[in-house]
């Protein structure tokens, strides 16, 4: 027989989880909204990727990452390394959502003299830890950062965001071996599997599956989730955190995502590295995004 006290505690726990879920989903909505605004100013850009990865970025910045918005270089921060430089549009939106850069600044994305170049660079943007973009670099840098933090006795964790296209690069697997060899339990990789690369669908460019088994074979604690299901993402992060240790297994969360997620108009459009969006469609995209978010919130 379950006591009243237990039921109340469970109720509170589920309230906390519901609030957590709602907070991250709302952050993901705003990241998507920011990305559409940035895409409209630029007239192009990697909007489809930003929409697809928004839930992953929201889970990191609204739930996982330890940082100080007013002090991006805070020594004890967790590190989020964006390997996939062209996802900067989504990352800038997340940095604005986190309060690290002003929302107003997002409209300068990709413009002359902006701190927000099309491909993310550490020398330009507060909160951008590395200069990604030459794909397959991030995980190697993350290995060094995780080693360096651990050697210096820091409890900070390192998160590396990479895309499934970067699994083509041999350097990713050099780093995967290195992380396992050095037992970097303070390292979490998150792979955006949108099954799309510059030249087409991933399985037509270079087959990377079976992805989960590959990471497992490299000694990682691997989980594969729907990367557009915030609840599943948070559960995966919780599992990864439960595994985390200064000396232990590195963790990877393999996230299946949908390019253009949250905007039906774009979800159904033919997928391309650069998604084509007409001038008159941006407002429609925003309306669809908001309707979807509010409809879900109402349920």
């Amino acid at each position: 027989m379950v006591s009243t006290q237990e039921i109340t505690t469970r109720g509170k726990a589920s309230d906390v989880e519901a609030e957590r879920l709602a907070r991250v989903e709302a952050a993901a909505y705003r990241i998507r909204h920011h990305a559409l605004n940035m895409g409209e100013v630029q007239g192009q850009g990697y909007v489809g990727q930003a929409l697809g990865a928004a839930d992953m970025l929201a889970a990191v910045y609204a739930d996982q990452l330890r940082f100080r918005a007013d002090d991006p270089g805070w020594e004890d921060r967790d590190r989020f390394l964006l390997s996939t430089g062209h996802y900067a549009i989504g990352h800038y939106a997340a940095l604005a959502e986190a309060g690290i850069i002003p929302v107003k600044e997002l409209e300068t994305y990709g413009s002359d003299d902006s701190r927000l170049p099309m491909s993310g660079m550490s020398t330009y943007t507060p909160g951008m830890e590395i200069s990604g973009g030459s794909l397959g670099h991030g995980l190697s840098i993350a290995v060094g950062a995780a080693l360096g933090l651990r050697y210096q006795g820091s409890g900070s964790r390192v998160y590396n965001f990479l895309s499934d296209g970067e699994l083509d690069e041999g350097s990713t697997w050099e780093a995967a071996m290195g992380a396992h060899h050095h037992q970097l339990g303070n390292l979490t990789a998150m792979v955006d599997i949108n099954a799309l690369q510059a030249d087409g669908k991933t399985d037509t460019v270079l087959r990377t599956e079976p992805v989960t088994e590959k990471w497992q074979a490299f000694g990682w604690y691997a989980q594969r989730v729907n990367g557009n299901d915030v609840g599943a993402l948070l559960a995966a992060f919780d599992n990864a955190a439960a595994q985390a240790a200064a000396v232990g297994r590195p963790s990877v969360i393999l996230c299946d995502t949908k390019v253009g997620r949250g905007v039906p108009l774009l979800e159904d459009r033919e997928k391309a590295h650069f998604m084509r969006i007409e001038e008159h469609e941006w407002q429609l995209c925003r309306e669809q995004l908001t309707a979807g978010f509010e409809g879900k919130a109402a349920r």
């Binding site: 020398t123 200069s131 973009g133 190697s140 995780a146 041999g170 780093a175």
Partner: protein, 330 residues
């Protein structure tokens, strides 16, 4: 054919010393210098790509096992991880062979360390023609490759003294560096001159009325030997040692070149893109109109073989330098 009439063959070796018989040498100067620097600076860490024993990094690994990170035969990881270590405030020294540093993992040094101007120090073994293993291991164009990389400091030391004095300065300097490593029993030459290594500086080792040598790396040792040999031919030779290839000490070198003396550059590197072209561009930029004669490796993939054979074949030996200078002087 009897064995008595068979001449003993000269054989190639992966790690061949270029020290002359009986020459004063120091053992593993880089490894010992790194240990000394690390005793004074607890931020210094070391890493290698399965070449610790062959780049003298093993000395550091033995002294500071907790500060040494083995990356395996994975040079892209080596440079990326070095950048990551530097991002956390450490001062990494990462060693591999020069061929792998320059050819195989360039993008990782360039974008992960040089673009953010991190204090990442690359140590490249077997620079230029210091192994008889052929093009797979002969980094004859490493300086040419690296000179185009913004922010990167390039040092081509002559001897053990240069290396000992360079290591702490590389650690103290901001930004990425590349050291052309001489490993094993390394000649000690410069202690006989009024000389100290200063990052970014060229130094006049000896004066001379007829010829001026501008040299770097182990070719400074050969330049000094050639200068002695040329004295017997009544040719008075000045030697200027320019171990920092980038940023280059243009002022010192141009002041020495702006005379009527025969000007010769000497380098353990291809004639393309190394010391000769560094000096030549400085001369042209200053409008000196001065002829400069290069002693350098040819723009070719070089032969495999024994090091003395190859140095003679490609013009790096003292004998070949002397002959070239005498021919130039007519």
């Amino acid at each position: 054919m009897s064995t008595a009439t068979t001449p003993k063959l000269k054989t190639s070796a992966m790690i061949a010393s270029f020290a002359d018989p009986g020459q004063k040498t120091a053992s593993a100067p880089f490894g010992h210098a790194l240990v000394k620097a690390a005793q004074e600076n607890d931020k210094i860490v070391g890493l290698t790509a399965d070449l610790g024993k062959y780049t003298d990094m093993h000395i550091f690994a033995q002294a500071f096992p907790e500060r040494f990170f083995q990356m395996g035969m994975a040079e892209q990881l080596l440079f990326g991880a070095a950048a990551g270590l530097a991002e956390t405030g450490l001062v990494p020294f990462a060693s591999t062979y020069s061929v792998f540093a320059a050819r195989r993992a360039y993008d990782f040094l360039c974008l992960d360390a040089a673009e953010p101007n991190l204090n990442v120090n690359i140590v490249g073994g077997l620079p230029g023609l210091t192994t008889g293993y052929g093009p797979s291991h002969q980094a004859t164009e490493d300086m040419a490759i690296f000179r185009g990389m913004p922010n990167l400091t390039i040092v081509d030391p002559c001897d053990s003294l240069d290396i000992e004095q360079a290591v702490p300065q590389l650690a103290a300097s901001e930004g990425p560096t590349y050291l052309r490593l001489l490993r094993g029993n390394v000649p000690t030459v410069l202690d006989e001159y009024d000389y100290t290594f200063e990052l970014g500086k060229a130094k006049v080792l000896r004066g001379g009325r007829d010829v001026v040598f501008i040299s770097s790396g182990l070719m400074t040792m050969r330049a000094l030997q050639a200068a002695e040999a040329l004295a017997a031919h009544h040719v008075d030779v000045a030697v200027v040692h320019a171990p920092t290839i980038k940023p280059f000490d243009t002022a010192t070198v141009l002041a020495e070149l702006n005379t009527d003396r025969l000007a010769v550059t000497l380098e353990n590197h291809s004639v393309v893109g190394g010391l000769f072209e560094t000096v030549a561009s400085a001369v042209v930029t200053a409008g000196l109109g001065k002829r400069v004669v290069p002693v350098a490796l040819p723009d070719e993939f070089l032969d495999a073989g024994a090091l003395p054979t190859l140095h003679e074949r490609y013009g790096l030996s003292v004998q070949r330098i002397v002959a070239k200078v005498l021919a130039e002087l007519g």
